[in-house]
């Protein structure tokens, strides 16, 4: 086919370039700029090469916050994915219960992050919060501002409360798309409830679950606002996940170079994990 040359097409392409440049490329390049140089303000820069990268990669502080980050993400995935599927399985499939359940499930998702943090902070306060006070009244020595275990417990509980609904909604959509004939066919075969779940429901939900895991991985790996408001990263550095640590370094200590290097490394880790995960899932898909 012959293509006609029409330079007017640029009018349609350029706005996109400009938009992407301003909201993605230019800010990212600024970070790259800081990552390779040292500055003391006044627009004076000195070339540092890969020094900040080496420093970050070798720093124990980074290793510790990266470790905490992975631990947190794995724990919440491990709880939220099975819990979300389980809740979706028990939700009604038709009738008035459907909209009621869907609205109830969506509620936590509609609350802004900092509000979630503030809510749970007040809720969990050992002296006046309902959760904190009740736990103490029941004889548990609970204080999330003082004890590391309690801080983790509260942060994870908050995240499960806030985000399990997303997994529920996605799983529910996957379940609803399974035609009733599948269940009938299984009934005729005499398949057990467990067999129906593993042989029909899980394989049919695979795609939405892939998306659910990816979304929950990324969101939890980049979590900032909620733990910042709830614990502020404490006690000590016990709940200082990657982004909290990064902000401390960049704005608290004003170590712009190392902070920029750290955010690039952070960015590549997220990208890499998502890519590996996605490729593995899609390759499995191809084999079937």
């Amino acid at each position: 086919m012959n293509k006609t040359i029409n330079q007017k097409a640029w009018f349609f392409v350029i706005p996109v370039f400009v938009l992407v440049a301003f909201n993605a490329i230019i800010p990212l390049m600024t970070v790259v700029n800081y990552a390779f140089q040292e500055t003391f303000g006044n627009n004076v820069f000195m070339w540092e090469g890969t020094r900040w990268f080496k420093q970050i990669m070798l720093s124990e502080r980074f290793h510790a916050s990266l470790g905490r980050q992975f631990l947190f993400t794995f724990i919440i995935l491990f709880i939220q994915i099975p819990l979300g599927i389980a809740i979706a399985l028990t939700m009604p499939k038709e009738g008035i219960g459907v909209p009621v359940c869907l609205v109830l499930m969506s509620m936590p998702l509609l609350i802004p992050w900092n509000v979630v943090g503030a809510m749970w902070n007040i809720f969990a306060l050992p002296d006046i919060g309902f959760l904190g006070h009740s736990l103490n009244a029941l004889g548990f020595d609970y204080n999330f501002t003082q004890q590391i275990g309690d801080a983790w417990f509260t942060t994870i509980l908050m995240d499960v409360w806030h985000w399990t609904s997303l997994v529920v909604l996605l799983s529910y959509a996957g379940l609803q798309s399974i035609q009733p004939a599948y269940y009938q066919a299984a009934e005729i075969d005499g398949a057990s409830r467990w067999a129906v779940f593993t042989k029909i429901e899980l394989p049919k939900m695979k795609k939405v679950l892939t998306i659910a895991i990816l979304l929950r991985f990324m969101d939890s790996f980049m979590i900032y606002t909620e733990p910042f408001v709830l614990t502020g990263g404490g006690p000590g550095n016990a709940t200082a996940f990657l982004s909290i640590d990064l902000v401390k370094m960049a704005l608290g200590q004003f170590d712009l170079g190392p902070a920029a290097a750290m955010s690039l490394i952070y960015f590549f880790i997220v990208l890499l994990v998502c890519w590996v995960f996605y490729t593995l899932m899609m390759r499995n898909e191809g084999n079937q």
């Binding site: 009934e187 005729i188 005499g190 079937q288």
Partner: protein, 354 residues
């Protein structure tokens, strides 16, 4: 072996899905449930299988009351309009799945799966997963799953409806052979009269939850007990007009067409049903009536021509062999074979089929 529905009725809330039905299906027969969508075919099948309970009445199998018995205990298999297979199983595992649950030995499973796979031309793809197959092959797998079990009752709910034209034709031709020499009762639901004629056996015509007529397929086709049954068993739709008979002369009510008839019925007014293929662009039979019509649409289907036309206040459909292309609004002559008219009384019951 026989399956009997005794006074079966199905209501959901205030809606009646199946009106009181008595039906006896015999051993080694293919029974076609023919009716438009929402006529109750699927509901009736689910009641037969035991997937659904009737609100009233009983189901008897081999002179044993099986009403309310669980489907797993009934040795039935079912094929659906959608291609239902276990997504993570290979074709082999899918076909073998009903045997595995009943605990058939692995040697016997292998042999039986192999046999059914060959019958359905699936031998080359036993190691593939369903989503690597075409729609036709997926449905073949589902059919194989239903056949491998040696069920007493095989139910097929519009199994060809989701296939494209060519695959449908192909599989449709193989179907009668699949059920040969099988010790079972086959029930086959379809909306298409041509499928019923091709499969033969017995046909029950259904309309809005009522079984209108049940009998040998050709009998139901040739001697519909009512206008409704004739309409269900006609595609394209049957032409219906009113006629008057006085002595041996018959005429359309508007007197536009007159003919002599030796037909042995009382004088009076009748409704006649004329199948589209009995109105043609050429003369056919000894008793051919000429009518004038105005073309509404003319369409070709394979080597046949469908011409929709108006005559008087009514619109008609004719089906002729060969290619005839007409322009909209053309006046043309068409010929009706009066020997093939089906006569109904004012209550739309059959009087005679000519």
């Amino acid at each position: 072996m026989s399956l009997e529905l005794k006074n079966v009725e199905k209501k959901i809330g205030l809606d009646t899905h199946i009106y009181t039905t008595d039906l006896k299906l015999e051993k080694n027969t293919i029974n076609i449930l023919l009716g438009p969508t929402l006529s109750g075919k699927t509901t009736l099948m689910q009641i037969m299988a035991g997937l659904d309970k009737p609100s009233m009445g009983e189901i008897w199998f081999n002179d044993k009351n099986v009403t309310g018995m669980k489907v797993q205990k009934r040795n039935v298999s079912m094929v659906y309009q959608q291609f239902i297979n276990y997504p993570n199983f290979t074709v082999y595992e899918n076909i073998a799945s009903p045997l595995k649950i009943t605990g058939v030995s692995s040697d016997e499973t292998k042999q039986r799966v192999g046999k059914v796979a060959e019958l359905l031309k699936l031998s080359g793809m036993l190691n593939k997963k369903p989503n690597e197959l075409s729609g036709g092959q997926q449905q073949r797998t589902a059919l194989a799953r239903a056949l491998v079990k040696d069920s007493d009752l095989i139910l097929l709910d519009e199994p060809l409806a989701n296939l494209d034209f060519k695959l449908r034709e192909e599989l449709r031709e193989e179907l009668p052979r699949l059920f040969e020499d099988r010790d079972c009762i086959v029930v086959y639901a379809t909306t298409e009269p041509s499928e019923a004629l091709l499969l033969g056996g017995n046909t029950a015509t259904l309309q809005e939850g009522k079984v209108i007529q049940y009998g040998k397929t050709l009998d139901v086709y040739n001697k519909p007990n009512s206008l409704l049954s004739a309409q269900v068993f006609s595609d394209p739709p049957m032409n219906i007009t009113k006629i008057k008979k006085v002595g041996d002369s018959c005429s359309f009510l508007d007197n536009s067409v007159n003919w002599k008839s030796k037909i042995n019925i009382k004088d009076g007014e009748y409704k006649v049903g004329i199948r589209p293929h009995n109105i043609t662009t050429y003369k056919e039979g000894n008793n051919s009536l000429e009518i004038k019509g105005k073309v509404l649409i003319s369409e070709l289907s394979g080597s046949e021509s469908l011409i929709h036309f108006t005559k008087g206040d009514l619109s008609w459909v004719s089906l002729s062999n060969g290619i005839f292309q007409k322009n909209v609004g053309d006046e043309m002559n068409l010929y009706m074979n009066a020997d093939e008219f089906i006569y109904f009384d004012e209550n739309e019951r059959l009087v005679t089929n000519g």
